[in-house]
Symmetry: C2
Subunit: 226 residues, 2 copies
């Protein structure tokens, strides 16, 4: 853990008009470590932006390095080009942890952990920072992968736009635990509880063009078993 | 399958300026049955809307009935109140199917199925349609649940806003299959392939206040095993 993380760990982000959790505020959390953990466990974010008063919500991969979230794409991407113009963005990551089955239809719910980030993305122009971001994308998919694969060449680096979003205006929202039924419903003869959900990796499917003798790397094996 | 579904099955939705897949267009799909299947398998959607030129992306549950997507919430919800004013909405559902490990960092990817819907949500005021939507929410979580639980009472019905979004301007985007490496990279001694991902339910956790003798219903058992 970096010194920066240690420092930030001591404090909370200051809720703003945009990040303050209004519905069920006790589920809100503004601790960077809670926010970072959700971002690191997630694989896909949903990027919201506005073009001509029209909202767009696009799923995409991302990477985190300390207090920055990186997204990337082709210079031809409408999303990347729109964000490049310096417009406001809202990025949301949601982990679904369980289905909450209550005794009444009304109190059915889900256990989840989500993060919502507001801000303005900026283009990463520094070559070292760009490479660090690309490393974060690859390591975010499977830790250990970056050091094994062919790194980006000059053409690929030029053909990739990387945007950086500061993790300063962000909040987490977390629901855990059992269903919360109305008191009089606890006597109903209805099964109630939680079905825990987990995104799990099945057996690795080797590429059909893989040369014989290339075995599944240990870090991938560990990723599948975890 | 309803007659409506059968009818729609014959045709494609007409791509609009907003739904036309521009990046990697061969991954785009405008068939209602493909779109519906993704929506039915997903559990969470990300709702994008604009307030004062600021995008918001909020995760929430949903239900589908034929060519309508329903979302719901409390009348106190900022999201619901904003959408009620008739503003444009973008709703996105993403299923993550696999991590695609290529021989180069650049060609790492993910297998996914996503749906993006554009439109304007309207308040469901008809009592029967509202109840049908609430039934869809509960059945969407675990099929078979609605007939067992206590249905919404008058107070709960009044305390729930249900919004309807037509599934007419929508598109799906799907990536499947192995990594696509640069031809010269296929000789690298790097493992490549796909790690298939699946959202799986673990063993059901019974509510601690469950009366003894109430066993796990068969439809929940089936849901877990599937």
């Amino acid at each position: 853990m970096s010194t920066l993380d240690n420092k930030i760990n001591q404090e909370q982000l200051t809720p703003t008009q945009r990040t303050q959790i209004k519905r069920v505020p006790q589920r809100g959390n503004y601790e960077p470590q809670v926010i970072y953990q959700i971002l690191d466990e997630g694989l896909i974010c949903h990027v919201g932006f506005v073009v001509d008063n029209q909202p767009f919500v696009i799923p995409t991969a991302y990477g985190r390095v300390e207090d920055k979230l990186y997204i990337h794409g082709s210079p031809a991407s409408r999303m990347l080009r729109s964000l490049l113009s310096g417009i406001e963005v809202c990025v949301t990551v949601t982990l679904l942890d369980g289905l909450v089955l209550a005794r009444s239809a009304f109190h059915h719910s889900m256990n989840y952990r989500s993060v919502v980030i507001f801000g303005t993305a900026t283009l990463v122009q520094d070559a070292d920072q760009k490479l660090e971001a690309l490393r974060a994308f690859t390591e975010h998919i499977v830790p250990g992968r970056w050091s094994e694969v062919r790194p980006p060449n000059r053409q690929e680096l030029q053909g990739t736009l990387v945007l950086s979003l500061p993790l300063t205006e962000a909040s987490a929202k977390v629901r855990t635990g059992p269903p919360l039924d109305d008191e009089e419903d606890y006597n109903l003869p209805v099964w109630a509880g939680v079905l825990p959900l987990q995104l799990i990796s099945g057996e690795a499917v080797a590429d059909s063009r893989l040369h014989t003798g290339i075995v599944l790397p240990k870090y991938v094996e560990e990723y599948i078993r975890k």
